[in-house]
Every structure is written in structure tokens, then in C-alpha cells.
């Protein structure tokens, strides 16, 4: 299990690949589900130029760890990887990566989605968007189900 808050841009697929190469799970997992959230240039019809992501150092990591551990237990996952950007995020950069490994696809799909929903509803991150009509805090997320 790896949970990291990143201040610099990361490439989600290189991260999964690099993480996978250090795992000793070859032949054990049949299913990997992953989700990558990336920075769009629009939100609710407003043009966004960049975004600043704030978090609560300490609590954010702790909360993500709790989410991941609960998912591992509930779905008997083999492993979980969660990365999340903070700081100034530019268009098309990756914001969040969640990957889950399991024997079968059902568990991988469900756990990956549930981790994302729990992250969005509970992990202490806040987005401030710089748009063509000034800067503003994002007040709520789009629904996930």
C-alpha cells in the first residue's frame, strides 16, 4: 500500500508501472482497476486556467490510509495505490490516481470506485479555480453515482 501527496506533477501510468515493478504480486492478481482524475480546462461552463489544491497535512494522509485499509479488508485486495496532487495544478495535469489490485475484476472495480467516492466526500482537499471570471473555491463535487 502506498499513499502519497505530491507537490509536483506526476504521470499516473508511469507511477502505476513503477509501483507494480516493486511489488511481489506477479501471478497473484488477475485484475487491476485504476482511476485517474485530470485537470480540465472548463468547469460548469467557465474556462479554467489553473487550479490551486490545498490539503490538511497529516489528516489528509491519515484519512486516505483509513479509506485504503477499509477497502483492502472489505474486498480482500492485494494492494492499493493512491496519489494526489496539491499546490498549483495546470491544465491536463493529473490530480488523483487510485489503483486497486485483486484476484478478480468485481473486487477491483468496486473498490477503486468506492475509494474515489470516499476520497471525494471525506479527504481534506480543497480546490480553488482560476477562471476567466476570477478565482473561486470549488464548493461541491459532481455526483459520482
Amino acid at each position: 500500500m502506498l499513499i502519497e501527496i505530491r507537490k509536483k506533477p506526476f504521470n499516473a501510468y508511469q507511477e502505476i508501472q513503477a509501483y507494480l515493478e516493486n511489488l511481489d504480486l506477479a501471478g497473484q492478481y488477475g485484475a487491476t482497476a485504476s482511476f485517474v482524475g485530470s485537470m480540465r480546462d472548463f468547469n460548469e461552463d467557465k474556462k479554467v486556467t489553473y487550479m490551486t489544491l490545498e490539503h490538511y497535512p497529516g489528516m489528509t494522509e491519515k484519512h486516505l490510509e483509513t479509506i485504503a485499509k477499509e477497502a483492502i479488508e472489505k474486498w480482500q485486495l492485494l494492494d492499493v495505490l493512491i496519489l494526489h496532487r496539491v499546490g498549483k495544478v495546470k491544465i491536463s495535469e493529473d490530480i488523483v490516481l487510485v489503483a486497486t489490485w485483486s484476484a478478480h475484476r468485481k473486487e477491483a472495480f468496486e473498490s477503486c470506485r468506492m475509494i474515489m467516492e470516499q476520497l471525494k466526500s471525506g479527504a481534506p482537499f480543497w480546490k480553488k479555480e482560476e477562471t476567466n471570471s476570477g478565482s473561486q473555491w470549488v464548493e461541491k463535487n459532481t455526483p459520482g453515482y
Binding site: 494526489h84 471525506g122 482537499f125 480543497w126
Partner: protein, 78 residues
């Protein structure tokens, strides 16, 4: 007794400070501390989320000396 209080995101901006140390009585519910803060600052803020020592708590949670209390708006990560 004292607790340290942190504010994040739009609330941090509204408060004009990221943290402060506040003197309250042992066992004060966190909701009462929050009322005290917004009355002192004369601000309005809906849907506040509350945490103590980096875990979410309910509004009736009673504070202890040295607690790290945090108030912040609904989270918008991911």
C-alpha cells in the same frame, strides 16, 4: 485550557488566519467553540466540517487540553 485551532481553504481566507490558540474550558463541545469563533469574528459560514486531532468528530464532541481542532468547508478533492 488551550486548544490549537486550524482553518482551511475559504474559511482560512474568511478568518484571515490559518491557525490560532484559543483558551476554553475543559469539556467544551466543539460546536460551542465554533459558535464562539464566528461570533467573535462576526462571520457567517455554512456547512462547516469539524475535526479533532485529525479525525472527524460530531458537533457534541468535548474538547481536551492540547487538542488540535480544525474547521473547514466541504472537501473538494479528487
Amino acid at each position: 485550557m488551550q486548544v490549537s485551532v486550524k482553518y482551511f481553504a475559504s474559511l482560512r481566507e474568511l478568518m484571515g488566519e490559518a491557525s490560532s490558540v484559543i483558551e476554553i474550558e475543559e469539556g467544551t463541545p466543539i460546536s460551542q467553540l465554533w459558535q464562539l469563533i464566528i461570533e467573535n469574528k462576526n462571520i457567517e459560514f455554512e456547512n462547516v466540517m469539524m475535526a479533532v486531532n485529525m479525525e472527524y468528530v460530531k458537533s457534541e464532541h468535548q474538547l481536551k487540553s492540547g487538542d488540535e481542532v480544525a474547521f473547514f468547508p466541504p472537501v473538494t478533492g479528487g
